[in-house]
Subunit: 134 residues, 4 copies
DNA sequence: TTTT
DNA sequence: TTTT
């Protein structure tokens, strides 16, 4: 069991890259507000990096922009890499398995009078044997 | 919503420290196996740092040791700090809100014939204004 | 571990009642859409009864109306009762521990130009020794 | 989002049935202890019906017996049916998407000296167009 | 730096 | 480095 559920706003537009073998990888950061328990003034947030693969990556690239609100279901993953100075460094990311778009419509899009619709995209749980491209 | 649920084994004994004001803080790492979906041979794990506060910290210190299996419910938190070389560095931890001890008894303890009992400790969600002591 | 996380729309206005001892209890039903995986046309939903206690109950009564979208975190509870015909019947409800209001503003309220704000209410986990009043 | 995570013990052996088209369906009930917050004596439990489909159903039938401890990840589903007396009745079940077997070995099986192994079975999220057979 |  |  390695389950993460987050609701937050995109802190920046998603970047979509492709692995050697052509798999799409989207990455972005979401700001998850905390402090609901504290005084409502001092709003703080955790900025959490999200990674999505394949079809889900493409859906993110096509539909999400900075500021949009999403619910992300995924798992925590710790990646390690080596710096130019031969130091081991660790990165923690959430590998998205499922993302729900919580805003009714894409930002900037024409506000249709239609009832707000949930959008949702599913991705199976991938453990690709390829590196996440930087 | 910032929710994490993990099941894993302690990769090391918990360390319990105290803040200036005397709050207990336990920290340890759990190994969460992945790859259940892949070939069963290549076992890999994510090593995820856990932080518990106050009463829950003390329960961890008194009851958990390396190797024990736990279910951790908490939230992801990203902390930043500055290195001696004035570089900003980020650490991601899970702040535990609730831990269930999934083994029947403490390691090494006398195996009582008693029915295995779930142990569980609850901690309220703390956002202390104090630093996590290193 | 008994954890439920749902996102859905209120199928009716909340009803707030009070126990003998004066504890507030709110109950309502949310419609949780499914079928995202299936053909997008055939929308179906699960109608899931939610119960909130005390301060959280009052927040629900004061802020939620039919149609509003919420994220509910809670636990599943099965209650049994006896019918007039002496038959045992079972009801499954979600006891809310935390509710996030996912719409920017209360329904019918004046649409302020202000940035949409997340509202959130917390309730501790109650296992009251009192019946849920019908 | 319709997510349920439960840890409990099987209250009875799973029953495996087959639909018209040959799909396996396992059903069983798990006892999820509560009251951790209350006095530790008065142990109470919620008895929650679980349904698993296809490959996951078969894994349950082959590996689970009364008393075993499991972690169930799934979604809540409300089914309605009509009694012989033409009354509409509702059943709430958890449709399992993933089950982790939390005991090292099958009950009654020879206690091997081998290191306890997590077993895990995955099922995709099915919304079959067939009835759950009684 | 790691668990079973 | 950040969102509302």
């Amino acid at each position: 069991m390695n389950k993460v559920i987050l609701v937050g706003h995109l802190a920046r537009d998603p970047e979509v890259r492709y692995t050697q073998s052509g798999k799409a990888v989207a990455s972005f950061t979401i700001a998850v507000n905390r402090n609901f328990g504290g005084t409502p003034e001092q709003r703080e947030a955790d900025f959490i990096p999200i990674v999505a693969w394949e079809r889900l990556a493409e859906t993110c690239g096509n539909n999400l922009t900075k500021g949009r609100r999403v619910l992300v279901e995924g798992r925590m993953q710790v990646r390690s890499y080596e710096t130019a100075e031969k130091q081991r460094r660790y990165v923690t990311e959430v590998i998205a398995q499922n993302i729900e778009f919580l805003d009714s419509r894409k930002q900037g899009g024409p506000e249709t009078g239609a009832a707000p619709a949930d959008m949702s995209s599913f991705g199976k749980d991938v453990f690709p044997d390829e590196e996440i491209p930087f």
